[in-house]
Symmetry: none
Amino acid sequence: MAPKVSEEHRDSKRALIIEAAKRVFIRQGYERTTMKDVVEEAGLSRGGVYLYFSSTEEMMLAIIDEADKLNFRDFTLLYEQYGSLWKALEQLFELNTQGIEQLAQTIVPVFIEFHILSWRNGKHAQYTAERYERSLQYVVSLLNKGVEQGEFRPIVPVTAIAQMFISFHDGMFIGVLQLGMKKSGALEQIDALKRSIRYLLQVQNEERG
Amino acid sequence: MAPKVSEEHRDSKRALIIEAAKRVFIRQGYERTTMKDVVEEAGLSRGGVYLYFSSTEEMMLAIIDEADKLNFRDFTLLYEQYGSLWKALEQLFELNTQGIEQLAQTIVPVFIEFHILSWRNGKHAQYTAERYERSLQYVVSLLNKGVEQGEFRPIVPVTAIAQMFISFHDGMFIGVLQLGMKKSGALEQIDALKRSIRYLLQVQNEERG
Amino acid sequence: MAPKVSEEHRDSKRALIIEAAKRVFIRQGYERTTMKDVVEEAGLSRGGVYLYFSSTEEMMLAIIDEADKLNFRDFTLLYEQYGSLWKALEQLFELNTQGIEQLAQTIVPVFIEFHILSWRNGKHAQYTAERYERSLQYVVSLLNKGVEQGEFRPIVPVTAIAQMFISFHDGMFIGVLQLGMKKSGALEQIDALKRSIRYLLQVQNEERG
Amino acid sequence: MAPKVSEEHRDSKRALIIEAAKRVFIRQGYERTTMKDVVEEAGLSRGGVYLYFSSTEEMMLAIIDEADKLNFRDFTLLYEQYGSLWKALEQLFELNTQGIEQLAQTIVPVFIEFHILSWRNGKHAQYTAERYERSLQYVVSLLNKGVEQGEFRPIVPVTAIAQMFISFHDGMFIGVLQLGMKKSGALEQIDALKRSIRYLLQVQNEERG
DNA sequence: CATGAATGAGATTTCATTCAT
DNA sequence: GATGAATGAAATCTCATTCAT
């Protein structure tokens, strides 16, 4: 008697809008995107979109959540898969490097923009802090595992190494966005960082680097 | 083409507006600031401000230019002052660290925001590239001097080291803005980076650390 | 044209909606109430409510009709019950006074609002006129009965007295709504009006007041 | 050097908008009037009107203030002009009666609508109370003057008489609006009220009525 | 009968920018 | 040069109403 499509219909509609929003965000950036833009991209009516999201901000948060879930999956794989922790770390570098040429066409720069604007508005401070903490813990747990297994003998706290890793990546992304891979020397930077981290961790029993 | 008296009047008027704009930018961020806001902060008339700047973007560029001049002065001092290049580098770390607690109350985050948005709009690519190149060359020239003097024997290209240094700083700033000094572990990160760079440069004739 | 079972189902559904509408009207006023509000208050679907009423206006008219029926019953009781017509009139005052403290929580102010807005839209002029005429005739018939029985010897047309009575009540209600019982001096006003009407009617065979 | 028209220009502009708003209010009522309507009636731009008023509510309050000033002037005249207070009171009746036929084309019904809606929103309660109090005091002071001069010997408190007078007028206005002069029996009602008040005041030394 | 997702018109509000004085 | 009133485009958001299921 009743439609009852509800739940899954709702989800698919949200997904549709989210995908449209992503495209617009990537094209125009977060701040420049209006509800109207998303409405037109999604091919829905004005009110139709409001049924699911009341602002571009809500959409953004949904997009971030989704991305976080995927990231977590990737990381779990990483964590379980590798015997050598340094190999796992190198894979992490690889993950963060691959696709870096198309960085501008991904949602990543939108995330950066959003985070800066959030800080501006004093919004989502708690949320952002939690996300950072989570990312940090991913990396820290990897490093600690290496320490436990005697593979790493770090000369500074592993947390500092992980934080440095994250800072570097954020900064490098900005550079790549503004100057491109080549001018920003992305690959050379990554190599330098990799060596730095191997040094800081004092990676053991590895054939020469 | 003979403005005579105007010249200095013009400059002082521009300076007044620039200062007002800075205050508003720091308070609200770049994107959120409207001409109206600056007009009101400066206590001038709408038309009055337009005589000197036709957009907040022009103001921002003027602010950046001013800051760059100051930075260059600082760097020149640094470059000439130190016998040991590693000491000079440490001083550079120091410069970038001091005042980091008040980062949020400075124009720095506005610069970051502006750069990201500029990339968005595809504006100022050339300009941004030049600024980056200039900053990079500051650091590279320092490092090269060290190489020439036999103080550094870098295991990777000095340019990569300099770029990594810059990336790290940009990223760390974002972290500090969002999480604060403590949560972002700023000081620990800086220490880790310093050690990394000393390693990459293979700093000579220093008492072992 | 043979609704069979539906009839009573229809009525109960309408009654349910009407009660919900009343609650919303009393809470928010007539003009401010949207179909959406009633739909939510009734806990029905949007389309569901539209099956019975296509606007808040229709609901309002239904509410008024219902109220009028109750009023008529009250009046009939009044008309038949009293030997002394002046006693009946006093009872009428009483009816209009009791509950005046809770006036704001009743549907009465909504009626006033609706009448004014109806006049605005040029709607329901006929309907409103009929309702007024009916109320007027209630009172006039009471007064005439008194004249016929020699209890009243009015010095102005009884119709004028009845109209004045109605005008006064409407105005007093507005005052009470805005200022409350005390500030509007409701009880004192009513006393003054009662004396006035006794004077205008020249009520006979009553112990002098 | 500077325009300096400011002050008076501002006032005339406000007056222009107010007059336009009045016309729209009278035509459509308060609630139904949007900023857009006023903008169009005034022949200004959207933003232009917002420079002076941010809502129809602000306009309404300005209109009420203006009307109150005029009323006060009228009353002052009344108060000073008459030897016989009863003559003054009759003049007051006259003032409230004249133009009653065109009542629908005046701002009066808009005031009534506004007051009812204000009560709805719980807005302006203080303001409304003050206005009522002021009107009341006008009438009370007239009556008291008559008492002092021995012209009135009221059988109920003069305040109650004044309040009854006001209530009656408000209610009668509503009646006239909905039914017109004739059907509402406005003139007959007024005559009845006048006699009532003369009775309540026990007006002395007057040739028969 | 009943549902509730979808539509789209329309109201509010803000500001960049111009221009007569 | 300087002013600030005026313009109007554009963004946000809400609901009455419809209609496929």
